[in-house]
């Protein structure tokens, strides 16, 4: 069955969920529900569907089932899921006229705020946001279209987080220059993580409020540092993501510099942590000069050879605040048949002093003689880069990279590619992977990961997991750790220590 529905639009993530649900139905061989973009038409064609003429504004439904009954059941389920999406969208606004652009949303909000008499029919869209104007805009439309929505926010002087990737760099520069004129802040593009006043945007952990402000050109880097601080009892007020390209020569750190200034002007921020891959040299100089002028102390983590890893940066931040870094939690694997020891296995499991390699005891029985290949199977780009640097060996793949996310959800949401990779690891190798918790991420990553880990361990693969999460995260840090260790993985809250441990298992050091 191939259908083209006109006049319907849903975002790609919602539709991927629908496709996933249909594919899982009994008797359904292949199911694809997607906007008929060139890319999606290509994928459908590869799946063997013959397509009628259609374009990016059309909804494409392609379904292949074993028999008519299965097809009818899938079609009914499709209608149910799609009407669910439609209700969800319309339900936002009782009047049924949700704004179509960020500009219109801003205008509706401003109109209501400025005119108390408009309540009878007008300004209902702003009702959802309550009294007052919006303070922030979150843009996650497809990259080629993100510029227009982000520019609406910038021209209104509002901070905007651009989650979208594939935004041309010249548009990024233009947005950030324009933001300097209007007093806005551009977070992104390709900004996966921000925390503003306790609200997590994108992939974000639940953090206790506190004196640390994080400026991050790297989402998972910020998540690692924030979670470690949180585990050490130190709160993070805000994470301002700036986008992975911000500190490149082309962009010149425009948003980083603005974010540093904003934190410096914020009386609640006592310490700033700046996290990025190594910047372009001239940008590094400019950032250094800016940092020197600030009244607020800054801890910098530029992840590169010879630089501190993220865990070391978190420890520096703690010392700067006068706190002693704790022993970072780890949860050793439970061998098959063995009862999990220590129940919750929470913080403090690794009792040795930091830096002392407390993981020596963990999994040492499997640290057999001879070299084993270390395979990093990552969802977080910065975590992957850090692990590669720390381990100094192995084959690392970042499944969150653009090359793997075209036409599918991020691996923090959809684990399918990483599960395939895990299943393909040969016996005897060592697998190092990250599991990132928090808002936006898989609501229960261990549910699908643990069986795959157990299967790998059963065929003689060693599995080490870096579990990046806070105790407040909705998935439950302890529960996720328990599920993974019960499946046979050695679990660490610190990615750097997970990497060192994995390298040791592989016999590299």
């Amino acid at each position: 069955m191939v259908q083209v529905r006109t006049g319907t639009y849903h975002d790609s993530v919602s539709l991927m969920r629908v496709s996933q649900a249909l594919s899982g139905l009994p008797g359904v061989e292949a199911a694809m529900v997607a906007m008929a973009t060139e890319l999606n038409r290509g994928i459908a064609a590869e799946l063997g569907f013959a397509l009628p003429a259609c374009g990016p504004a059309d909804l494409l439904v392609a379904l292949r089932a074993d028999d008519g009954t299965a097809a009818a059941r899938a079609a009914a389920e499709l209608d149910r899921l799609l009407s669910g999406l439609a209700v969800r969208t319309a339900g936002r606004d009782a009047a049924g006229h949700p704004p179509r652009t960020v500009r219109a949303a801003l205008r509706e909000a401003a109109g209501t705020a400025g005119n108390g008499g408009t309540t009878a029919n007008g300004g209902t869209a702003a009702g959802a946001a309550g009294e007052g104007d919006a303070t922030l805009v979150l843009v996650s439309v497809p990259g080629p279209h993100a510029f227009a929505e982000a520019l609406d926010a910038v021209e209104a002087g509002l901070p905007v987080m651009i989650f979208s990737d594939n935004v041309p760099v010249e548009q990024e520069v233009l947005l950030k220059r324009r933001a300097e004129e209007t007093g806005a802040l551009v977070m992104g593009p390709d900004c996966g993580t921000a925390v503003i006043g306790g609200a997590g945007l994108g992939f974000a952990n639940v953090l206790r409020p506190g004196p640390v402000g994080i400026v991050a050109a790297s989402g998972t880097g910020a998540q690692q540092v924030a979670c470690l601080l949180d585990l050490a009892g130190v709160g993070v007020g805000h994470i301002l993501g700036v986008g992975g390209r911000d500190l490149s020569a082309e962009v010149g750190g425009l948003s980083t510099l603005r974010a540093l200034e904003a934190f410096d002007a914020d009386p609640a921020t006592e310490l700033i942590v700046l996290i990025s891959k190594p910047p372009a040299p001239e940008v590094a100089r400019a950032v250094r000069e800016a940092v020197e002028k600030l009244a607020t102390p800054v801890v910098t983590a530029f992840l590169g050879p010879g630089e501190d890893d993220l865990t070391a940066a978190a420890e520096s931040a703690l010392r700067a605040l006068g706190a002693e870094p704790p022993a970072w939690p780890s949860w050793p694997a439970v061998s098959p048949g063995e009862e999990p020891s220590g129940g919750e296995g929470g913080p403090g499991t690794g009792a040795a002093a930091p830096g002392e390699a407390p993981e020596a005891g963990i999994g040492s029985s499997r640290a057999a003689a001879g070299r084993r290949t270390l395979r990093g199977i990552y969802s977080g780009g910065t975590l992957c880069a850090e692990a590669r640097l720390v381990a100094g060996t192995g084959e690392f793949t970042d499944y969150g990279d653009d090359g793997y996310t075209r036409g599918r959800a991020h691996p923090m949401i959809d684990p399918a590619l990483r599960l395939e990779a895990l299943a393909a690891v040969p016996s005897g190798d060592v697998v190092l992977l990250d599991v990132v918790l928090g808002h936006g991420a898989d609501p229960d990553p261990a549910a699908r990961l643990a069986p795959a880990v157990a299967a790998a361990v059963a065929r003689g693969v060693s599995v080490v997991a870096a579990l990046v999460g806070s105790e407040g995260d909705p998935q439950g840090l302890a529960a996720q750790a328990q599920a993974l260790r019960a499946a046979g993985a050695d679990v660490f809250a610190s990615n750097a220590r997970a990497a060192r441990h994995a390298a040791r298992l592989a016999g590299a050091r």
Binding site: A57, T101, G111, G122, P144, A146, E149, A199, L201, D266
Partner: protein, 464 residues
């Protein structure tokens, strides 16, 4: 720099992936959802280029401010040959430029009628032959600070409303309204049509002129604002505005022309669309004030000639961007039906250009059936136009929307981004020359006119 969002509760506008919005809902963070959809096909590159034009925001602010601050006043009524560059053998017509060969039935009928009125042909056949031979110069009304409803044909002996913009000093013209039924603007050219046009030149025009000389200029901005509050949208309903105009002029007519006052008042008062024409001139003079602002993406004219629908944009001078005119969807008079309808025709879309007509449908519940649907459709039509306009009119307000200003100033980039096309109310002309009006309804402009204008704006963005 300080960032207000670092202190205080976050309130978020989300556009895009719904999963991210749901994560905010789970945290009880208040948010407004944008119902985002992809832009019109093929416009992404042009949009990015035009939106990046550093001149755009200020240019649009200036252009739409000129449009909404215009103060149109009905200043005079004068024969066309006194005020327009209209030598014998030259006619104006509605919409973008058109030739006899491409002209539709009603346009041809009106041109034939003008030939007969001006004595340039003895009968219909001769008129058609001369027009086909190119003996007459045809130019768009818009090129001459003029607008004309339906066929919009203007010849030198016709009388014109003269509207001046007291704010910016512009002037615009529109012919006098002939009433409904068999009329020239719908392509009819029979003896009663020509006879009425002669009477309008000999009696109606001079009486109106004399009356206006006594009253002085009439404030059309105030009159339109009042009419909106009395249930007009000023395109397909002009009943309140006509009554207000007649009320203003009646005493002066009696004083200035006691012999003809009764027949003129009877004519004007008996035609619910009498105000359409001065209203169109008011819209034209307002829209013209917004012309020629470099970098502005504001639409300053939308007009149809019965074959093409065309738009002009502030930042692009006098260039027309056209697409095929659609057939209106509406109600038909008597036994007429869609098969009798001509494609969309007339300059009366100047009302929508200036934030009236279809954009003000929510003000005119009385005619929602005429243009299809019920009151909620009218409200929805007006609401959706806020999406594609740059401003809300400070004077033209809609009581039913809490006196919110009408959506005004169509932005080409917003049309492309939302795919929402201007809502246009219109009369429907018969397809066959000489038929007259067959109905009224709603019509959608062709998206291609707007995407073509967007492409031209993209080309006009300065390099670097």
């Amino acid at each position: 720099m300080t960032l207000p969002m670092l202190s205080g509760e976050p309130r978020v506008i989300t556009a895009g992936t719904e999963v991210l919005g749901e994560a905010l809902d789970a945290q009880a963070v208040p948010r407004v959802t944008v119902d985002w959809r992809p832009p019109l096909p093929g416009t992404a590159g042009d949009l990015a280029r035009v939106l990046a034009d550093p001149r755009r925001a200020a240019a649009n602010a200036r252009a739409v401010d000129r449009l909404t601050s215009a103060r149109p006043q009905l200043a005079a009524v004068r024969p066309a040959h006194e005020v327009l560059d209209l030598p014998p053998g030259a006619f104006l017509h509605a919409g973008p430029p058109i030739t006899w060969e491409r002209a539709s039935g009603p346009m041809r009928g009106a041109l034939i009628g003008a030939m007969l009125l001006e004595g340039l042909a003895g009968d219909e056949e001769e008129a058609a032959a001369r027009l086909a031979a190119g003996a007459v110069r045809l130019e768009p009304c818009h090129r001459h600070r003029t607008v004309g409803p339906m066929a919009g044909v203007v010849s030198r002996s016709m009388w014109m409303f003269e509207v001046r913009d007291a704010e910016h000093g512009g002037t615009a013209y529109c012919s006098l309204n002939e009433g409904l039924g068999k009329v020239l603007r719908y392509g009819a050219y029979g003896p009663e049509v020509i006879g009425r046009l002669r009477w309008m030149g000999e009696v109606l025009g001079p009486v109106l002129r004399a009356a206006l000389e006594l009253t002085g200029p009439l404030d059309l901005r105030a009159l339109i604002a009042q009419a909106l509050q009395m249930g007009d949208e000023l395109h397909n309903r002009n009943r309140a505005a006509t009554s207000l105009l007649v009320r203003e002029l009646a005493p002066a007519m009696v004083e200035a022309a006691p012999r003809h006052a009764a027949e003129v008042l009877r004519f004007a008062g008996g035609n619910d669309h009498f105000f359409l024409n001065p209203g169109m001139a008011a819209c034209k003079v307002s829209a013209d004030a917004a012309r020629d602002v470099p970098g502005s993406t504001l639409v300053v004219a939308m007009a149809r000639n019965g074959t093409d629908f065309g738009v002009q944009v502030s930042g692009l001078g006098d260039r027309w961007f056209t697409g095929p005119a659609g057939v209106p969807d509406g109600l038909y008079l008597g036994a007429y039906g869609p098969a009798d309808a001509n494609p969309d025709i007339g300059d009366s879309t100047i009302t929508e250009t200036a934030g009236l007509g279809g954009f003000a449908m929510a003000a005119a519940p009385a005619i929602v059936r005429f243009v299809g649907g019920d009151v909620s459709d009218a409200v929805a039509a007006t609401r959706s136009m806020y999406e594609i306009t740059l401003a809300e009119h400070p004077a033209y307000q809609i009581p039913g929307l809490g006196f919110r200003g009408t959506p005004v100033g169509v932005d080409v980039t917003l049309v492309a981004r939302t795919g929402l096309l201007p809502t246009v109310n219109t009369g429907i002309a018969g397809r066959v020359a000489g038929t007259g009006q067959v109905g009224a309804g709603l019509v959608s402009p062709p998206a291609s006119a707007f995407t073509a204008a967007l492409a031209a704006l993209a080309e006009a963005v300065p390099a670097g």
